[in-house]
Symmetry: C2
Subunit: 483 residues, 2 copies
């Protein structure tokens, strides 16, 4: 497989026989990107105007100087129909690097418009991991057609990758790596690296393996370059290494890269043999994605991608809204139980959403903190009790403050100290319950291996709504308040 | 400054004169970590039991085999008082690597318990960026005392770093890097790297600079190792490079690393001179942190760290709850305007929170999607109009579905088709408004350079609450409903 990283475009492949001249335009020019590295709207409009005017050549000229990551961004920024026209105009710029950087949904749409042999051409330019990313989402028929069009080596590598579960290390890893035996000297290793033309040219560390091809250490290239030539590689390498099982979930892989600040890591099969390598540049977007997912899951927005097909967005969101409809009905039934009280004092209906709403917000705060702490492995069984105590203390301080404000306010506005006392007590109760629910619900879900971000907020909102209405209307009834 | 990366602990520094034997216990043993790389509760308890029994030696023996990142985790998992006892027992294991991996709040607490010369000892073990991270949060007096205790070179480097704004590239970068002139051959470069004992041993790329020390290209070590010796380094390097201005905000730096899949990047001052290097291992936790912040900001949980001092958590959260109290009162005043209608039909009070609540959820969904799209630069001026249209279409589909369910349900349960029609119409209206507010509010805040994650949800919730009550009670009044 052709060695090509999807980092910043590199004009030349290095080989012993030819070294092309490098003539480039360095950084993406200031005319295309704003200070946040986003494509300027004027620039995007210029490209679209050229397309609309039928000036495909002009559009291509505008797009050509862009970095592959920016070409990918451009495709994400334009509309569905414009996207197809753009692809036609800049077809020759649409290489593997561009596809590797592209949003999943946008890539899928474009790939569907291509012939199998075109997809195969693109895939053969890429490392296994990026090729797999392009092929894995295709229909089975098309997938087979693309695989048939690939050369046998690439095909075997991709088929093997596809045999691993989705979002596993086996899909993420590339097979191109350097492995050397422990007894080689530094000089021999350098000789080997400089001599063999077949080797990959992009790697950051080499792996040291035993005769059974099991990794026993890792060696940064800088250590090899800085060590004396006569020393065995086994004495330069670092023996502590973080091995990635081939079936490990990508979220775990990302956490491991982050925790141990890895640049690359060996992937091993069940028998401990080295089968691949994962590099950090393939991990950063997973770290970003996994960390950003919490807010989408907590709000029930599914994948939450603005390029997701509308029907998919509808399906994932409406499911959540219907679930919330049910919990809202539970809260509503609590109110129904107190209709007599409300009929005697309609002001209660005016005030009750305040108790439920602020309680809901307090619950969401605790929930967000707890979900993040669980996701980053900061909250474990060892400190759960302390985290709960912590949230109770914060909730008590919040409760006292908010209850005092609303209590005094209602007493004065309604000229009714009893009503003020009732709403203050209900508010205090609800904020405390919110704090407890906000930490207990996600911790419990996590203990049962459920994703705390997905289901927590339904339970917490139901709790704060119901308790809010129950405490306020219940206390008002008990106090015999009448309007 | 002593060259030491805070990656996985490396037992040996490589030098030409001595190469210590490596005797290590490889991976963190399975007895300490669970399958998610978290310290097992049994293990943490064992350490705490030893401490409580006064067996400092036993505790130290348990902690010694841990990876620095896991020692840092251990300190985060134990309580405040246990933390100080633990620090006393394992004082000699508390090196710079451990501090570099530690949560900010926990580190601050421990650093405060140390003498300035002890802090200086730790800082001198670290690369500039990690040393700065430890020193930057100290009081000015203590900071001065630590700086006085450092040797002049380290002190100058750290003082220079501290002269840059917090969270800027200047604070993140390390000064230890390799820069060579363009005309050197590959062989000369390798010779230089292998010859000079003073050089750093940890780097992934070298920078090629012009006579004015301005970077003109970057070269992966693997390319140097794979290229023929006689070629000039200027013909091997990649000329497109992503330069980081020294005053760039760390969030921008993180986005740039992610977008262009960088392993390291040159940092330049205002005149374009190379002043430092940032490596991806220092960036991954920023990527993770920035991506995870949205959920905390949207919920008003401030920093949202479970190790944050309770008083700080209280202050940031109560401010938000009081803001929400005000918006809840606005919604409450809408209800108050319809007290007459509620008095005629108390069932309206029972049902109105459903309209407001489900609308609020629909708004939060759109908000979460929009905030993430803005944070990842997927939503820009170029596609705002399309994103708004997209959300309106999703909202219409959601609205029709939820309105139909609640409309039919209420008609049947209350035996009142007019009431069913009113709640369906109100629900449809509110979900549409929620979708619009969920995208317009954050996009508008972003256009005015305000953080859309911080303030959006107050506005959106106020809108969905008020419109929910207004639409439902208003339509009920117009329809002349009575119980």
């Amino acid at each position: 497989m052709y060695q090509f990283r999807h980092g910043p475009a590199r004009e030349a492949e290095i080989s012993d026989t030819e070294l092309p001249e490098l003539e480039t335009d360095a950084l993406p020019p200031e005319t295309q990107l704003d200070e946040d590295d986003r494509l300027k709207p004027e620039y995007v409009t210029a490209v679209l105007d050229a397309l609309e005017a039928g000036d495909d050549e002009g559009a291509r000229a505008l797009v050509e100087p862009l970095h592959p990551a920016d070409i990918a961004d451009l495709f994400e920024l334009v509309g569905d129909e414009e996207r197809v026209n753009l692809a036609r105009a800049v077809a020759d710029l649409l290489n593997g690097d561009v596809f590797a950087e592209m949003n999943d949904y946008v890539r899928e749409q474009l790939i569907q418009a291509l012939e199998p042999h075109e997809v195969a051409d693109i895939a053969s330019e890429l490392d296994t991991d990026d090729a797999v990313a392009i092929i894995e989402d295709m229909d089975e028929d098309e997938q087979r057609a693309v695989l048939r069009a690939l050369d046998p080596d690439d095909r075997a590598a991709i088929e093997e990758a596809l045999s691993f579960p989705e979002e596993s290390a086996g899909r993420l890893m590339q097979r191109e790596l350097i492995a050397v035996p422990e007894h080689w000297t530094v000089a021999e290793t350098i000789e080997f690296l400089r001599g063999d033309e077949e080797l990959t040219t992009d790697f950051w560390e080499i792996f040291v393996v035993d005769p059974g091809h099991r990794p026993i250490g890792t060696c940064q290239l800088s250590w090899i370059l800085r060590a004396p030539g006569g020393i065995a590689i086994g004495d330069v390498m670092k023996r502590e290494q973080t091995l990635i099982p081939v079936d490990m979930d990508q979220e775990e892989v990302a956490l491991r890269f982050q925790k141990y600040a890895l640049i690359s890591a060996a992937v091993v099969d069940a028998s401990g043999r080295l089968v691949g390598m994962i590099t950090v540049d393939d991990i950063v977007h997973i770290i970003q994605q996994e960390a950003g997912e919490d807010v989408l899951r907590l709000s029930g927005a599914g994948e939450g991608d603005i390029n997701e097909p509308i029907l998919d967005s509808y399906k994932s969101r409406v499911r959540w809204l219907l679930a919330n409809l049910i919990t809202a009905m539970v809260a509503s039934s609590v109110i129904a139980a107190f209709e007599g009280t409300i009929a005697r004092m309609v002001a209660l209906a005016t005030l009750m959403p305040i108790v439920a709403g602020v309680g809901g917000n307090a619950g969401t705060q605790t929930l967000a903190v707890t979900v993040r702490a669980l996701a980053t492995n900061q909250l474990t069984q060892s400190n759960t009790a302390r985290a709960i105590m912590r949230e109770i203390r914060v909730a008590m301080m919040n409760g006292v403050t908010v209850a005092a404000v609303i209590g005094v306010g209602v007493s004065l506005v309604f000229g009714n100290p009893a009503l003020g006392l009732v709403i203050a007590a209900a508010m205090m109760t609800n904020i405390l319950v919110a704090g407890l629910a906000g930490v207990l619900v996600p911790v419990t879900l996590d203990r049962f291996d459920a994703d705390p971000a997905v289901a927590s907020s339904v339970f917490v909102t139901m709790t704060t709504d119901s308790i809010g209405f129950l405490a306020f209307l219940g206390l008002a009834t008990a106090a015999g308040l009448t309007g």
